[in-house]
């Protein structure tokens, strides 16, 4: 609790994400399972935050609720001043389209499309003309270092390359917030490092907020802020500042 007030006081800007007293209760047969049991925190613009915890701690649930994929049982989620827990599914889709980028553990590229088309896909949901969106997609693919794989189909690329495409797809819509659910879960350690650094660099350059869920404390160490969750409750929130040079 103390950390929240501290961070809000430190920066004049209001927090981009504010989570208040969040509960998620699943009913398993007769008994209730508390996936989230009263979670409070806030995040500022431009922060790289890691949600860390063992499996079953409720970290994925938290992420899904912030992205509007799941409804909370109780509590508030305020993103950029909007209560998303009150939105209808239709409004949530619009909200995601306008504000959110998403990076999946299993990449989830569309197998029928090549790299550029995959990256351009979320832009097409916004009704952006083909020419502009392909141009933008190429730009972001270059940014993640995939100039040579632009026209490769999803299954013609390695896991690391696919995840880079996934990152480009999340970034191309210029979202305020990027959610990443175990983005490096399927990658080897070398690639993992590269991908994480890439993510951090881009987010910093573009002043975007990145929230990453992981079970790995080492990976969480790349983040500016670590929220540790155990059994649906926040155990502790750590903050640390990284200089770009130190990881290079």
């Amino acid at each position: 609790m103390a950390e929240i007030t501290e961070t809000t006081e430190k920066k004049k800007e209001p927090p981009i994400i504010r989570v208040k007293n969040l509960y998620k209760v699943y009913r398993v047969g007769e008994s209730k399972v508390f996936a989230l049991n009263g979670v409070d925190f806030s995040l500022n613009r431009g922060e790289f935050c890691a949600v860390v915890g063992p499996s079953g701690s409720g970290k994925s649930t938290l992420l899904n609720m912030m992205a509007g994929l799941e409804k909370p049982s109780k509590g508030e989620i305020i993103i950029a001043g909007t209560h998303i827990e009150r939105m209808t599914e239709k409004e949530l889709v619009t909200f995601r389209r306008e504000n959110v980028g998403f990076i999946f553990q299993s990449y989830n590229l569309l197998k029928t499309m090549n790299a550029v088309e995959n990256v351009a896909l979320p832009l097409s949901f916004r009704g952006i003309p083909k020419k502009i969106r392909l141009e933008k997609a190429r730009k972001y693919l270059k940014l993640v270092g995939l100039e040579k794989q632009m026209n490769h189909m999803a299954n013609e690329m390695s896991g690391g390359q696919q995840q880079r495409v996934g990152i480009a797809r999340a970034l191309v819509v210029n979202p305020r917030i990027i959610f990443a659910d175990e983005p490096t879960g399927n990658l080897d350690s070398k690639t993992t490092k590269e991908v994480l650094k890439l993510m951090r660099r881009i987010v910093r350059e573009q002043k975007q907020t990145l929230i990453m869920v992981t079970h790995d404390n080492y990976l969480a160490g790349f983040a500016d802020k670590q929220i540790h969750i155990v059994d649906g409750k926040i155990l502790k929130i750590e903050e640390q500042h990284h200089e770009d040079e130190e990881e290079l």
């Binding site: 994929l69 239709k90 889709v93 389209r97 569309l110 896909l121 003309p129 819509v173």
Partner: protein
């Protein structure tokens, strides 16, 4: 999402599973073709029936007869059909034209050839306009002079007075040139025969052979000397001219065929046995007919037959169309099945799209477009198939033989443009309806469940 992007995505999804798409489309092809071909048969049959009916006479004409012409009971003047009555008919609503038919038997001669009891009919312009003239033109209709329009089969009536032998015995057409050589008409046939048989009438006074009149021939009804139509057997002329001519021939004497009053004296006006009333539209024929019946005349028209045959052909068409519809229904089930399969396969993809912010409506429309496309493709190929099947049916020798026996000709299978258009629209609609529930299902998939699906 832009419509074009949506379209491209739908088409790409269909192209992904070519065999499955092709099989589903095949179902629609068979369904569309069966409906179209079945209905084309129904339409062909009913149109043929109409054509037969139309050859019997115009569909909008009412034939009016007067009973009173024959039954002359003593009391008051019978309900004759006179020029006044004809005027009343003309003033009825929806009536576009009226013509009394003044039937009068005459004898015609050209050289050695004679035709007796030729039915000369005086008609008005309204009636004359219905006849299509082959050779020559229409007679003058200004009442000044009798000009003749010969029925195309009347020539068969002429026989050679000296050699004998009519067309019916010899099978040879008489050597009569209706248009080129002069035609003489004998109006007073009674007097002619009396003068032939001894030359006295009932009073014992001698009868002079009646005058022959040279009458110009304006034209001949369309058709060869053996092609029947309803104008084939009569000779037509202007009503007013014929009236004037008859008055001139008979002076004060009764005109044969015209009724007389109680004292046996002729009326000083003409009385018609029948008339034809033309109505603007088929739908109004029945009403006008009722009014005329109420005026005390007998009225009949082809529309009665037509209504019956219309009902019959409607039932035929419905039965045939129904048979075809069953196969399109089966095709619709095929489409629904394909779409469901496709959704199960693409559950994850749909989920990803929803997470990435694809509108729910877009997802639904994408699936609707896919199923609509299946319908469109099936409908188009089905139409091509229908047209070729129809062509084959119309050109099978066996079919035209049967039709020849039925006394009709023309195509048995007819695909009007509206049927083709409707079939196409129907195929698309069926596709979209069949795809609707799968599409809604896809739209409602929870994005979370969809991306969890491994």
């Amino acid at each position: 999402m832009r419509f074009l992007d949506l379209l491209v995505m739908s088409v790409n999804n269909l192209r992904r599973r070519k065999l499955r798409t092709a099989l589903t489309v095949l179902g629609v092809i068979v369904g569309t073709a069966s409906i179209v071909v079945m209905m084309s048969l129904g339409i062909g049959m009913s149109e043929m029936q109409m054509e037969i009916l139309e050859s019997y006479g115009s569909m909008t004409a009412i034939n009016v007869y007067s009973d009173a012409y024959y039954q002359q009971d003593g009391s008051s003047d019978p309900n004759y059909m006179t020029d006044d009555v004809i005027e009343q008919f003309r003033r009825l609503g929806h009536v576009t034209g009226v013509s009394p038919l003044l039937n009068y038997s005459v004898m015609m001669r050209q050289g050695q050839y004679t035709a007796s009891y030729v039915n000369l009919i005086g008609v008005t312009r309204d009636y004359m306009e219905q006849i299509s003239v082959g050779e020559g033109t229409y007679p003058k209709m200004d009442g000044s002079e009798v000009e003749l329009l010969f029925g195309n089969m009347v020539i068969q009536n002429f026989s050679n007075g000296k050699r004998g032998g009519s067309y019916y015995e010899t099978g040879e057409l008489p050597d009569v040139d209706l248009m080129g050589q002069p035609i003489f008409v004998v109006y007073d046939m009674d007097a002619y025969y009396q003068s032939m048989n001894g030359g006295t009438n009932a009073d014992g006074t001698s009868v002079k052979p009646p005058k022959k009149y040279l009458v110009p021939v304006a034209g001949i009804v369309e058709g060869g000397p053996t092609d029947y139509n309803m104008y084939s057997w009569d000779v037509y002329t202007d009503l007013e001219a014929l009236k004037t001519q008859l008055r001139k021939v008979f002076k004060k004497n009764p005109i044969p065929g015209q009724p007389t009053n109680k004292k046996g004296k002729p009326y000083n006006y003409f009385i018609y046995s029948s008339a034809v009333v033309y109505v603007d539209e088929i739908d109004n024929v029945k009403d006008v007919q009722t009014v005329i019946s109420d005026m005390g005349f007998q009225a009949s028209s082809n529309s009665e037959w037509m209504e019956q045959s219309k009902k019959q052909s409607q039932i035929t068409q419905m039965v045939l169309g129904g048979i075809g519809a069953v196969s399109l229904f089966v095709a619709a089930i095929g489409i629904a099945n394909t779409m469901m399969m496709s959704i199960y396969e693409r559950t994850k993809e749909i989920g990803v799209m929803k997470v990435l912010g694809c509108d729910m409506g877009n997802i639904r429309n994408m699936f609707l477009m896919e199923s609509g496309f299946i319908g469109l493709m099936g409908g188009m190929v089905g139409l091509i198939l229908s047209y070729s099947l129809s062509y084959v049916m119309n050109h099978l020798p066996a079919v035209s033989q049967v039709m020849g026996m039925m006394g009709t000709e023309g195509n048995i299978s007819r695909i009007p443009l509206w049927l083709a258009g409707m079939a196409l629209v129907f195929a698309i609609v069926v596709g979209m309806v069949a795809g609707f529930f799968p599409a809604v299902r896809a739209m409602k998939l929870s994005p979370l469940a969809a991306i969890r699906n491994e």
